[in-house]
Symmetry: C2
Subunit: 356 residues, 2 copies
């Protein structure tokens, strides 16, 4: 089932599934017992575009922290519980928006039914999230994709028997092909919204590459209602940024600004790398809300061509000059040292003029 | 036509196309006129896994540099020429392995035929590489995918009329969907090997994400004989590393080591981020050639599961301990501060024992 045809599930102030946007989720690194640090981490992720935040709840102390955090942030919060579902029940009673359980660590059926009852009464959500790293013991002999599927299905059947259907599903593998296969299977079998991710993608560029390929392929097939990028990184900011980059690259969502910039070579007539980095930084710092495509190009080969196709463009030219473009037209030739500010001025001026 | 069924084209000491590996190409930032700097840049890229190196040849000075560089490096070299094909002719005479021309800047047909004659006589290769930033004027009114295709086809017909078939094709757009569409079209129409890339992908994570999605999808469809990742970056090292990450993520090629590491959360019992980074660094510095999958995990939820599936694994445990695994079996519990070296020792010992 394509994403827009899935059920719509309440999650705090938003809804997941159906025609809602593909939400960006991130997970905290801090223990919620550290209240101040957790709140800072959540706000930093939110600043970067995080829309759903998940926190591990490993013990009673973190449960208390969670109740305090909930009062001070306005993002939908999900409590991640393993082994001890009692923590999930209490989190739900304390006002959390959803609980995530893992079929491999969900424990006994009675506790799960108790949790479902609380979620049902308060109209909260349950994410059933399986993972190749923690498959239930009795499925471990199976093919991993089947094991993921069967273990999710087993929990769904319990929730449905209890007449509870506020469910979001996920099943993640560390392997790209397995992840593509399991989401294909889930999307064919169920009408619940899907949370998509590749688990334990790794550190640095490798993690970004793996996640981009897996999520890129799955999202492009029309599958997935919210995403999380699982990078080995010290905070949830970079996973939020990468998640947005994936959605923007696929044109599924947009924060407004798209930058086209060349890799530079011996033909460049100016420092494209420095100007591009600096431009991104300045736009962010000055909170300039650009909607459109900006091309920053090093020379006369692809420069004017790309600059013409973009909403605004800058192409370095010989003799210390740079040419500015706006929607296909050459605007003016400027000195390179003034080019960046001239470009920002041009963009802000034209956006101002366009305002009603 | 799938990659393994394409023609095989000579390129210096290697061949491109057919059943050959998917080669990693990078492009220099330095002007070849700067001989020493260019050689350093080529060697750094080669160290990272670059197998084909392309240099822009904007003028006579860079041509001289090229002839000197060629004597001192052992990678196949491609001269990138625009506007003035005479530079390509001279580069071919000076011993370069291939010339890249762009339909949008190739100039008049007579010069192209002269270039083809030299390439033919010396059994060198020609890459015909179109780009949305520099489409020929007479195609600019067309749909961009058609314009890319038609402009490539026009040059192919000239080379084929001259009975020259050592051709590698590329056609790049800044747009993911256009790039997927044009490579699909090229692979159906021609049996020449394809060089795949998304042009002007951009700077930082955005560039990595865009390239990973586009190349991931195209390569996974069985298309593409060599790749280049066009990142806005100061040197060709990072584009080489990202190209390899893409090929490894898709299991199309392998440098040997795959690392699975968790994103860490409040449940972690040790510093996964630091250990993973440090482990990668140490393995590289000490030139330890690991062949296999290593899992580095923060806790008891997915830790032992992933560690079991990997060839070697480390899962942090409570009370300052870490558990080491080898091919599914628990090896020993160690102190966290000794865990990294213990893991490296375990891996090198077992690899040593496996040697014939």
């Amino acid at each position: 089932m394509r994403r827009e045809n899935t059920k719509e599930i309440p999650l705090g102030k938003i809804k997941v599934g159906g025609k809602n946007p593909i939400w960006v989720e991130a997970m905290g690194r801090e223990n919620p017992a550290k209240i101040r640090e957790s709140i800072r981490e959540i706000r930093e992720a939110q600043e970067e575009g995080c829309e759903i935040f998940r926190l591990a709840v490993p013990d009673e102390e973190s449960l208390f922290g969670l109740s305090q955090i909930k009062k001070q942030v306005d993002l939908p919060l999900i409590a991640d519980v393993h082994f001890n579902l009692e923590l999930g029940i209490k989190a739900a009673q304390l006002g959390i928006d959803a609980v995530r359980v893992n079929p491999g660590t969900a424990g006994n059926k009675e506790k799960l039914e108790e949790l479902i009852k609380v979620l049902y009464d308060k109209n909260l959500a349950l994410r059933i999230g399986a993972n190749t790293g923690s498959l239930p013991l009795h499925y471990r002999e199976k093919n991993r994709v089947e094991a993921l599927f069967d273990s999710v299905e087993e929990l769904i059947s319990i929730t449905e028997k209890n007449n509870f259907r506020n469910i979001i599903l996920s099943a993640k593998s560390t392997d790209i092909e397995e992840t593509i296969a399991i989401y294909d299977k889930l999307s064919r079998a169920f009408s619940y919204p899907l949370h998509v991710g590749l688990t334990e993608a790794g550190e640095g560029e490798e993690g970004i590459v793996k996640s981009s390929i897996a999520l890129g392929i799955i999202l492009r097939e029309g599958i997935g209602n919210n995403i999380r990028v699982s990078l080995t990184a010290p905070d949830p900011v970079s996973e939020t940024r990468v998640a947005w980059s994936i959605l923007e690259a696929l044109k599924l969502r947009s924060k407004g600004l798209e930058i086209i910039s060349c890799p530079t070579c011996a033909r460049r007539k100016g420092d494209v790398v420095a100007l591009t980095r600096d431009f991104k930084q300045k736009v962010k710092e000055r909170k300039i809300k650009i909607v459109g495509k900006v091309a920053i190009m090093g020379c006369e080969v692809n420069g004017p061509g790309e600059a013409r196709e973009a909403d605004w463009g800058l192409a370095f030219a010989p003799r210390g000059k740079a040419l500015l473009f706006s929607r296909g037209e050459r605007i003016k030739m400027v000195k390179q040292e003034e080019a960046e500010e001239e470009l920002i001025r041009l963009i802000t001026k034209e956006m101002e003029e366009k305002k009603p």
